[in-house]
């Protein structure tokens, strides 16, 4: 049984201007010890997906209107708040983007870690203290026992993120959700944190959902990648497969828009750019949501009228498009 199975998840925001269909039919699963990267730009719905899994969406104005989130067989969307609180932190943990605001500035680090241990396990003060030192050491914070007595402002951004990871790991969760954990950090620190997450995942056999906009990050960390656009998954494949053979026009464009670190003619060449902007999620276009910006959508091929399904194009490779790359070569060349 998969650790986490998300099926047809739909989370909508009910606002004055209309219903924002932030997540509109997302399906994927995560096994124990597996890392899946969810990639997308702003407005793709990746963060809302993560928050929906944890039950952390603001209710109102948001609501899960359809679908299920099965964690070890239990549907989290049907649980009460109290039951969800038991799951959060203990079975599923989450770390967020901004290390500056995710720690309480008025509490010592020690308190923030032991708080979690106390909530779920009822450790004694001494036991919790010892466990806290262990955790800080595991995330490679030097002088762990002294550092416990510090307040968050004495830590740098990278260190704070490590503390967040320590808090997340405190109860040995089976699944860790990381929402843009390194975006606010410097490149060298980012690499350290990602390497750390890799190691910890392997040591603890944890499932990992990594949410990011950075294709480089998923290439480094994820086993599988799901690309999101306008609230839907448009492509889903193992990492190597996705980068070697991207199928969806959006994925291709995304990869082509990335400036390269190495290679010929980097300075003179132009980057692939996608014209236009992501669609308004209150009134997404009928049919394929990427069609208005897609170079392969022609009139009369139904792209603008019918929403394509997420279909299996190869073993392990799903794509939501009427014109995936491998089928394009077989089509007659467009005029």
């Amino acid at each position: 049984m998969a650790l986490l199975e998300v099926k047809g998840l739909k989370t909508h925001f009910f606002t004055r201007e209309g219903v924002v269909r932030a997540v509109d039919g997302v399906t994927f699963s995560v096994d124990a010890g597996q890392a899946i990267g969810i990639v997308g730009e702003s407005g793709s719905g990746k963060s809302v997906t993560a928050l929906s899994i944890m039950g952390l969406i603001p209710r109102p104005p948001a609501r899960i209107v359809d679908g299920s989130v099965e964690f070890q067989g239990r549907d989290l969307t049907t649980l009460s708040d109290r039951q969800l609180e038991d799951v959060r932190g203990r079975e599923i943990a989450m770390i967020f983007q901004d290390p500056m605001t995710s720690l309480n500035p008025t509490l010592k680090i020690k308190t923030q870690i032991t708080e979690v241990l106390d909530r779920h396990f009822g450790y004694s003060k001494d036991e919790a203290g010892r466990r806290a030192v262990e955790l800080l050491e595991e995330v490679r914070i030097p002088n762990a026992s002294e550092r416990l007595e510090d307040y968050p402002h004495r830590f740098s951004g990278g260190m704070r993120q490590r503390v967040m990871i320590a808090i997340a790991l405190a109860c040995n969760p089976k699944l860790l959700i990381a929402d843009e954990p390194t975006t606010a950090l410097d490149v060298t620190v980012q690499a350290e944190i990602l390497d750390l997450l890799e190691e910890l995942r392997r040591d603890h056999e944890m499932g990992l959902i990594l949410i990011t906009h950075d294709m480089g990050v998923v290439a480094e960390v994820a086993d599988e990648v799901a690309v999101m656009y306008a609230g839907q998954i448009v492509e889903h494949a193992p990492t190597l497969e996705l980068f070697d053979h991207p199928e969806h026009p959006y994925t291709e464009a995304l990869l082509g828009a990335l400036p390269q670190l190495e290679g010929e003619d980097v300075r003179e060449g132009r980057l692939l750019s996608i014209p236009g902007r992501p669609p308004d999620l209150i009134a997404p276009p009928p049919g394929c949501r990427f069609a208005p910006r897609c170079p392969y959508a022609h009139l009369g091929d139904g792209c603008a009228d019918n929403e394509p399904e997420l279909r299996r194009i190869r073993q392990n490779h799903l794509v939501r498009s009427r014109h995936p790359a491998s089928e394009r070569q077989r089509e007659a060349a467009p005029v």
């Binding site: 490149v187 060298t188 390497d195 990869l255 190495e262 980057l271 692939l272 750019s273």
Partner: protein, 287 residues
């Protein structure tokens, strides 16, 4: 590339910020050396990429060059004139030739001004042309940067980040500058929009013979834009050279660590890059 006089020469530039503390009477206890002896030159028509992590002093360097922040010491020669010592009037005139594009598309445009006003402000300040001339020029500039001129009477908040950056670029171009300092111009934008703006900047450089000082923390972005590179750390330049040289044959350990840390969208390289990082972190002093 050429033996001409460099457009911009920065020599031993320094900027220190005093740290004030004290209970009743504030006293200067120590100083933070944001820019600690930076020197480089940029030839006309070329792009120098200034790369560094946060706190390296790269943005402050840019502000010091434009005299938006007064340098503590050092020299900035622009078009042969020493900017740190010239008179206010002369500096004001020279400002027409050196401009800046900011990182944050939300705070770089005055929310109470229309798009047209924002782009025509440089022309107004320097008394260029009549009202009609200015309006024509504004429409021309908006068109050049790929922004629909019909929206000149709208307000910035009605547009997305990428569109706002275009407005910022149009404003920077208004007075036909020779040098534009691009301070993290695409860091706040999504990847696909980023590509649009970078392409635009390249086109403009070619079409108008612009010289860029391109400041960024994103090594891949800098690579695609720059001819020459300077790597900054803690207020100092640790390595300079032609972009190709520095990226392919980095000499300094810090540069190598930086390059190894960038997440590269190539899963095959993952293992080897991880090993490289581990190797470098053992020998690199944590600082």
């Amino acid at each position: 590339m050429s033996e001409r006089e460099p457009l911009l020469v920065v020599d031993d530039l320094r900027k220190e910020f005093p740290v004030r503390s004290g209970f009743l009477i504030e006293r200067v206890t120590r100083t933070v050396k944001a820019v600690d002896g930076v020197s480089f030159a940029i030839q006309p028509g070329r792009t120098l990429g200034l790369v560094g992590e946060s706190g390296s002093g790269k943005s402050t360097t840019g502000y010091c060059i434009l005299q938006l922040v007064k340098p503590t010491a050092g020299s900035v020669r622009f078009k042969g004139k020493e900017l740190t010592t010239i008179g206010r009037g002369e500096l004001r005139t020279l400002r027409r030739d050196m401009q800046i594009i900011f990182q944050d598309p939300y705070s770089s445009l005055d929310p109470r001004m229309t798009v047209g006003d924002i782009v025509s402000e440089p022309l107004q300040i320097h008394g260029v042309g009549t009202r009609r001339d200015r309006r024509l020029r504004v429409r021309e500039l908006l068109d050049v940067v790929g922004f629909n001129p019909d929206y000149e009477n709208r307000y910035p908040h009605e547009f997305s980040g990428g569109q706002r950056q275009r407005i910022g670029v149009a404003r920077a171009l208004a007075l036909n500058p020779d040098l534009i300092i691009c301070d993290e111009p695409v860091s706040a934008l999504d990847v696909s929009i980023q590509a649009q703006i970078l392409n635009l900047l390249k086109d403009l450089q070619r079409d108008f013979g612009l010289t860029y000082l391109f400041i960024s923390h994103d090594l891949a972005v800098v690579r695609s834009m720059s001819d020459d590179i300077a790597v900054m750390k803690d207020g100092k330049i640790v390595e300079t050279g032609l972009a190709d040289e520095v990226y392919e044959r980095p000499k300094e350990r810090y540069t190598r660590a930086l390059l190894a840390a960038v997440p590269v969208p190539d899963p095959r390289k993952m293992q080897e890059r991880r090993h490289e990082r581990r190797r470098l972190s053992h020998s690199l002093a944590q600082g």
